[in-house]
């Protein structure tokens, strides 16, 4: 047994504990079951000690963490179920199937709660797919390896996107939003996080706690094969090394057609109330589903592996117990309802078999041909021993931001830098991705992909649901606490930008090997930052997933907590988009956080470094700004709203021009120095200033520059491309501008009037410098970025 438990990923301490619990040497089946249930992936050994920090309650919460998905009430007799989950390791090995089955898994989590999936989102990370301008210089030095690296990352990216589309499109679930970043830190471990949102009537919610001694345990859906055996322990709970290729057999293969039938039959039977309990089969297959259903219900479950319909002959009982074959569900059904359930599955041509029974023993027992193969206490199985690691702050973290004055002057004309950033893979239009996803099926998509957040209508109530994902690994790498906090703030800002109020969070915590102090430090600090931000917004974390061991050859990914945000608005038709709407509208910047070089796309691409310390989010200011923004949108005051994030203010302005197909005449003289951005007493005065000629405003800016030579204002490039939280660019009709400025002044939200919408170029003056670029050139840079990086543009 000694070698075996080690091969299965168990420590000797854990093996000893297993012998204590069993009171003897475990059988082969028992050891296989323990190794999976106590793996990081299923057991959350390292993360559980920290996860309790998240706020998870609230007036809307119908189901918090611990079930297949969390659920919040959205009024009108409806609730929303949502969850995000990772499928990183399988995708790194077989990108198409890894991503496809990731989508399949999260969809099952949603309809296992009784909800009909209404949309999916995807948060992706890969290594670089193209060289940055800065990198071009030493491309020779980096040699062919760099180019080859790009090819591998392009392959992963293209096939992951195809896999997500392949599964979601076939299922008829629109994929409406998400994000993707390309950083070297992900070249050995791509991240594929899939999120799904579903609608359910509270009375139809079903949970996974088994109940009713004597009830049938029913397995239905696909047949069981050898695919995915050991996925959770072998793939998801270990670092990658040269044996990567050998792990390919552990990746499952998706069958969206069967899942579509599974979805329909589940919802049909749930609305008829035919399930006592329902659980999807994911990591560790029957093993984890059965033991969790038993543990939650405080009952026992007997499983007869010889009754399981098989795809391959001669599978051993332990293989049947841990197979991760997809598109399977486990349900508890009363003997009275069994015939009805079987008939429904027959109508959909799905296998449906009674594989066991609910018992009063509180134990998971496994039989084959009537012989006991394993007999384990369900409670202990579902309660893996936790590990705590002494945390240590990573060496690269610093307390002070970089001093822009210590950086060489802007390496290129401001216009050239803007065009480069607009087309940078991390910022460029994601159209190439979302046009491969059916983003319209179900006819609810009001605001299409490409904006700050997607907006869906709820046909039954007329309400709007805004959804987005956010998480900047580069920022979190520089400061896990601030970065994770900023991810929550930005996600909330994005749903606020379409006019919805943030009401719930689901998160996916992607980190390296938690056995290392530095990784555990990042994990704990990121969780603290997210928790504080969620508390400030009064938004509960209702579900989530943790993916650790994202390391290759000892190299960890950037710590990447991904936030999935749900926003709610009373009326979907009252919303906002990011494009400038009409000539003559006044462009206003909400928020006055000082832009920083630290961790910015500009710093990375043009100075070739990622260093410093990102600005901290002022949560009080953030909450205030978003409330005012939603009020302004709700009152129909603003005609466009766009979050100001990656690439800084200049990129946000350019994106609003491209989305609106119109130019703008702007002066950022007042932006860089917070003092200058505070609302002038009597907002109308500020408005007049806006209508004054750019010349006057710029002279004011120039003097500000002269007076503070080393302030960020001295660096026009930082004012344009520096990044800061808590900033939103809005445009407003001239006649409504005064009202907006008064609203902000009254609420204490700093505003700066930047100029007006109009013309066919984006003309930005900043101090004695500036840029002037035709909108079509901005569009070409932005729309063509991804195709160019892939060599297909």
């Amino acid at each position: 047994m000694t070698e075996l438990y080690a091969d299965l990923g168990l420590t000797s301490a854990e093996y000893t504990r297993i012998k204590e619990i069993q009171g003897r040497e475990p059988t082969h089946v028992e050891l296989a079951v323990y190794s999976l249930m106590w793996s990081e992936h299923c057991g959350y050994k390292h993360s559980r000690p920290y996860l309790g920090r998240f706020p998870s309650t609230g007036a809307r919460v119908l189901q918090g963490p611990g079930e297949n998905a969390g659920i919040v009430d959205i009024g009108g007799g409806l609730a929303v179920a949502m969850k995000i989950e990772s499928h990183n390791h399988p995708s790194a090995i077989e990108p198409y199937q890894g991503a496809a089955t990731g989508v399949g898994g999260i969809l099952r989590d949603i309809f296992a709660m009784g909800a009909r999936p209404i949309c999916s989102l995807d948060s992706l990370r890969f290594g670089e797919i193209a060289a940055a301008p800065r990198a071009d210089a030493d491309e020779g030095a980096r040699g062919a390896a760099a180019g080859a690296g790009h090819d591998r990352q392009r392959y992963l990216f293209e096939h992951v996107v195809a896999g997500i589309g392949g599964y979601g499109n076939c299922m008829g679930i629109p994929t409406v939003a998400g994000e993707v970043y390309f950083e070297d830190a992900y070249s050995g471990n791509c991240l594929v996080n899939a999120m799904t949102v579903g609608l359910v009537r509270p009375e139809n919610i079903v949970r996974s706690a088994a109940a009713g001694v004597g009830n049938h345990v029913v397995l239905f859906g696909s047949k069981t094969g050898r695919d995915g055996i050991g996925g959770a322990s072998v793939l998801a709970s270990q670092e990658f090394d040269e044996t990567l290729e050998e792990k390919r057999p552990s990746v499952q293969v998706g069958d969206p057609f069967t899942e579509k039938k599974l979805l329909e039959v589940c919802l049909e039977l749930l609305s008829d109330g035919r399930f006592v309990a329902l659980q999807d089969l994911g990591a560790a297959g029957i093993t984890s589903s059965a033991s969790e259903m038993a543990a939650k219900g405080g009952v026992g479950i007997d499983i007869h592996t010889d009754r399981v319909p098989l795809r391959e002959r001669d599978m051993a009982p332990w293989e049947i117990m841990i197979s991760e074959s997809q598109e399977r569900m486990l349900a508890v059904v009363t003997p009275e309802d069994w015939a009805y359930v079987k008939a429904a599955c027959d109508r959909w041509d799905l296998d449906c078999t009674v594989v066991g029974d609910v018992t009063g023993s509180t134990r998971l027992r496994v039989f084959h041909g009537g012989e006991v193969q394993g007999d384990m206490p369900a409670e202990e199985l579902a309660d893996a021993p936790t590990c705590t690691v002494t945390v240590e702050r990573p060496a690269h973290e610093v307390d002070e931001p970089v001093d822009p004055a210590s950086y060489a002057p802007a390496p290129a004309p401001l216009g050239e830098i803007l065009l480069d950033l607009l087309g940078a893979p991390n910022i460029a239009s994601r159209r190439w991705i979302w046009e491969q996803y059916d983003h319209q099926v179900q006819l609810n998509t009001v605001v299409l992909p490409g904006g700050d957040a997607a907006l869906l209508r709820v046909k039954e109530t007329g309400a709007g649901l805004a959804v987005c994902t956010d998480g900047n690994g580069r920022h979190t790498y520089l400061d896990p606490y601030r970065g994770a906090k900023a991810a929550v703030a930005e996600a909330a800002r994005n749903v606020s930008c379409v006019g919805a109020e943030p009401i719930a969070v689901t998160n996916c915590l992607n980190f390296g090997n938690p056995e290392k102090g530095a990784i555990s430090y990042q994990l704990s600090r990121a969780i603290e930052g997210m928790a504080e931000a969620c508390e400030a917004f009064g938004v509960p974390v209702i579900s989530g997933n943790v993916s650790l061991y994202n390391e290759s050859f000892g190299q960890a990914i950037y710590p990447t907590p991904v936030v999935g945000m749900l926003g709610l608005s009373d009326d979907f038709s009252v919303h906002c988009t990011s494009g400038f709407a009409a000539e003559g509208d006044v462009v206003v910047l909400l928020g006055d956080a000082a832009p920083a070089l630290d961790g910015s796309e500009y710093q990375k691409r043009w100075y070739g470094v990622v260093e410093g310390r990102i600005p901290d989010v002022d949560l009080e200011a953030e909450v205030l700004l978003q409330a005012v923004l939603r009020r302004a949108i709700g009152d129909g005051m603003v005609r466009s709203a766009h979050d100001c994030a990656d690439g800084g203010l200049a990129v946000a302005l350019a994106e609003s021009c491209v989305a609106g197909g119109v130019g703008a005449r702007l002066d950022l003289g007042g932006v860089a120095t917070p003092a200058a951005a505070a609302p002038a007493p009597g907002a109308p005065v500020a408005l007049d200033a806006a209508h004054a000629t750019a010349g006057a405003a710029s002279s004011a800016a120039s003097s500000a520059v002269a007076s503070a030579p080393t302030s960020p204002a001295a660096r026009h490039d930082v004012a344009l491309f520096g990044e800061a939280p808590t900033r939103v660019v809005v445009s407003v009709a001239p006649e409504a501008a005064a009202a907006l400025l008064n609203l902000c002044a009254g609420a204490g939200v700093p505003v700066t009037t930047l100029g007006t919408v109009g013309g066919d170029t984006l003309r930005v003056r900043v101090g004695d410098d500036g840029l002037d670029i035709p909108v079509p050139a901005l569009r070409d840079a932005h729309e063509g970025g991804i195709p160019r990086a892939l060599g297909v543009g």
Binding site: C170, G172, F257, W434, E435, Y437, Q440, V441, L443, R457
Partner: protein
């Protein structure tokens, strides 16, 4: 159409395993006061006296073989083709179009999109014929905006077929640009001659890759598809 409708127009929407646009077709039709949509199960053989049969979009049987290749053998398809032969109106959308070509109820066959990628985007279509029950309310040369959403939409046909199709003017919609020009640049999938939709010789069976049911409400996507359904409803109500 004028006056009060004497009755409602019955739209039978066929549900195959793997169909996923049946709800959308039903919802879109529910926005037409004179339409009465209902579902038909692929294993049945009774069409329940429809005025129009719709084969909706989706991935019938997963489309694991050829798109539509298995669905055409569903029990209900026998009734659908008999209905069509008796002059009944049949509309195949996307996967429905693929099924109709596999069933030889329409000319041609589908290839994978040029570029080998799934494509979901808004698309302009030029109306080529208005002497069909599906387009009688439109005008020749009209440009309507209807989204495409498919992986195998490159319609093609043999040269003999093509000549016949052109001679008999079977093409109803072609992919075009905003101004109505039929160019290769705006062809989303590489379909021969930018063909987006065709009818059979009798003009009572239409197959089209774009999704008119997705554009029947201004709140989501626009109303570029309403003209087609209005045409069908009026055609039936006016007994033509």
């Amino acid at each position: 159409m004028t006056g009060i409708a004497p009755r409602k127009v019955r739209f039978g929407i066929v549900v195959f395993p793997g169909s996923n646009c049946e709800y959308d077709a039903k919802h879109a039709l529910s926005t037409f006061p004179h339409a009465e949509p209902y579902y038909l199960w692929h294993k049945d053989d009774d069409l329940q006296s429809p005025d129009v049969v719709i084969l909706p979009g989706g991935f019938s049987y997963g489309d694991y073989l050829r798109t539509g290749a298995i669905a055409r053998f569903s029990p209900l398809m026998g009734a659908v083709s008999a209905f069509a032969e008796s002059g009944g109106l049949v509309l195949g959308i996307c996967n429905g179009f693929q099924i109709l070509t596999e069933a030889h109820m329409l000319h041609g066959a589908m290839l994978r999109n040029r570029g080998l990628k799934f494509v979901c985007r808004s698309q302009h279509l030029r109306v080529e014929r208005t002497d069909t029950p599906f387009t009688r309310g439109l005008t020749v040369g009209d440009v309507i905006q209807v989204p495409v959403n498919h992986n195998e939409g490159a319609w093609t046909a043999g040269s003999e077929d093509l000549r016949q199709i052109e001679d008999q003017r079977l093409v109803v919609f072609r992919y075009c640009d905003e101004g109505g020009d039929v160019t290769d640049a705006v062809n989303p999938n590489g379909a021969v001659d930018n063909v987006a939709g065709i009818v059979n010789e009798c003009g009572n069976v239409l197959g089209m890759m774009p999704h008119p049911e997705r554009v029947c409400e201004s709140a989501v996507g626009g109303i570029g598809g309403r003209g087609l359904f209005d045409s069908l409803i009026n055609h039936v109500l006016e007994g033509m």
